[in-house]
Amino acid sequence: MSLTLASNPPLRLHWHWAWLTPLVLFMAVMAGTSIGETSIPMDTIFKVLANQLWGAGYAVDRIDAGIVWNYRLSRAILAGCCGAGLALAGVVLQALLRNPLADPFLMGISAGASTGAVAVTIAGLGAGAVTLSLGAFAGAGLAFGLVVLLAHAAGSGTGGGRGTQAAGAIILAGIAGSQLFNALTAFIIARSASAEQARGIMFWLMGNLSGVRWDDVRLGLPAAFAGLLVCLWHRRALDAFTFGADSAASLGIPVRRVRGMLIASMALVTAVMVSMVGAIGFVGLVIPHAMRFIVGSRHTRLVPASALAGAVFLIGADIISRIIVPGQVLPIGVVTALVGAPAFAVILIRGSRVR
């Protein structure tokens, strides 16, 4: 993809580069499986895949096979799912709320998830019967519900509910909700966490893919695909918000229903991802902006491009997080920002030169 793509008349989806998508994804996943503390050659990976998928019976080192199948492949696939899901959530929230700073965590989801996570791991809520993921998911859902209630109350107070005031109310409610849950998290950590626990939870909050297994993929993959389908289905509605909610309504979009449904489904996708791998920042905020510079802001292109870029970006970030400091795995959130911020700066500068 080159930066000149944006100058094509972008009304139609150009399918002639669509065949690249599975290829790029496959290569990214292969790279994620091969590269790591112990490098595994491609032919070994293919042999393991053949053994697992159709019982080919190649002779492979059992440790290598275990690393490839049980550890790295699932991890790379889930990283891709998370990247795609978070990028899509960013696309949708930025489009609907007409705010370039909107990101998937705007609705209090990451704050709620972290509160849920520390409530389970540190405060001991659920007495061991509740996993960290479940706690995080419940926390995210609770925070989202609270933010929606608050936004609804604030939105109907200003008489609009449907217009621009509603978008403002959602953003402010999200900020208030996030602050509240962040404070709760800090309170629980300060009150009852040991230094070791505090470090562990800090690591989790910035994103951690090391515990990923196939069970997580079985949840993450459908979530990412469902998110993609929902966004593609509503691509014209997302376009219709270009000139704001009132303009969308006059173009025949039932604004309240479509906006509510899209925000809720993206919140669900985000909550699923966050509850498995923690709050990985930067992807949902910056990938949509970067893709707008490259493919333009019409969602027929922006949605698939962002999903693909988010997936590849997070797989890449995960690889880097494993190899940049020998013998230590960095939180992936650190890498996404460290790598992503300069990359985004380059896109910003080059994008402004295109025209």
């Binding site: 008489g159 000139f243 025949g252």
Partner: protein, 254 residues
């Protein structure tokens, strides 16, 4: 199509912005809305466009109550040009106009040559065809206004609502847009500030303090007494030597 409003009330924070407004715009008619700032013109247009649900009363398209119609069906009938609608998106003029086809497309129905032709036609009608590939944020205020009008035309509406569409336009484009609007074979409701331009409408409604205080043909409605009472200005009627039509000249009331 006939568009009618039946005893419409609209209140925000206890302020009554529309107070029992009833009017009926006949098929093919160009209906002008005039009134001082804050008299409720924009609010009335938004209610007529289906963007606001009136607190009391109802809007009818032909004989169908609007509240019972899906938003998409309303958009296939009515197009609305807002006073200001801005975006930060990097879109080109053609993409902005293409949004007008939204009510006619579904998730599975692709963009067609037919839609392309309608968009090109709309761009041509407002004199923006040569700027079709320009980015939105490089356009002047008047050019943006013309793109919004083109977007509304791309909806191929049977009822067109325009909120002060000639704001920001140079005189040549003011005249060409007004002429275009009058020639369209559709029902038009247009809010105007320039009372001489309002003279060109088939009928005029005068808004004052949320009420429709006068309604009728321009020559009857735009009387010296009405203008003094509603706008607080004195008016002298001159006669245009070209077509013997009256022209208004305004002075501060004494």
């Amino acid at each position: 199509m006939r568009l009618s409003a039946d005893h419409i009330d609209w209140t925000v924070h206890g302020h009554r912005l529309l107070d029992g407004v009833s009017l009926a715009v006949e098929p093919g008619e160009t209906f002008g809305l005039i009134g001082p700032n804050g008299s409720g013109k924009t609010t009335l247009l938004r209610v007529l466009a289906g963007l606001r649900k009136p607190k009391r009363g109802r809007v009818l398209i032909d004989d169908h109550p609007m509240y019972a119609m899906p938003q998409r069906d309303i958009a296939r009938t009515i197009a609305f040009v807002e006073q200001q609608a801005e975006t930060l998106d990097r879109i080109v003029v053609r993409e902005a106009v293409a949004l007008g086809r939204t009510p006619f497309l579904t998730a599975l129905q692709p963009w067609s040559e037919h839609d392309d032709a309608i968009v090109s036609r709309a761009l041509h009608d407002v004199g923006m065809a040569h700027l079709a590939e320009r980015l939105w944020h490089t356009l002047s205020g008047g050019e943006r206004q013309r793109v919004h009008i083109a977007r509304a035309l791309a909806q191929q509406p049977r009822i067109l609502l325009l909120d002060e569409p000639t704001n920001h336009l140079d005189i040549r484009h003011q005249l060409s847009i007004l002429q275009l609007v009058r020639q369209l074979p559709v029902t038009v409701v247009i809010a105007l500030h320039d009372l001489n331009q309002a003279m060109g409408c088939d009928r005029i409604g005068v808004m004052d303090g949320g009420r429709l205080v006068d309604l009728g043909e321009p020559e009857q409605v735009l009387s010296a007494e009405r203008l003094y009472r509603t706008f607080g200005v004195q008016v002298d009627f001159l006669v245009d030597p070209a077509d013997r039509r009256p022209v208004m000249r305004f002075r501060n009331a004494l």
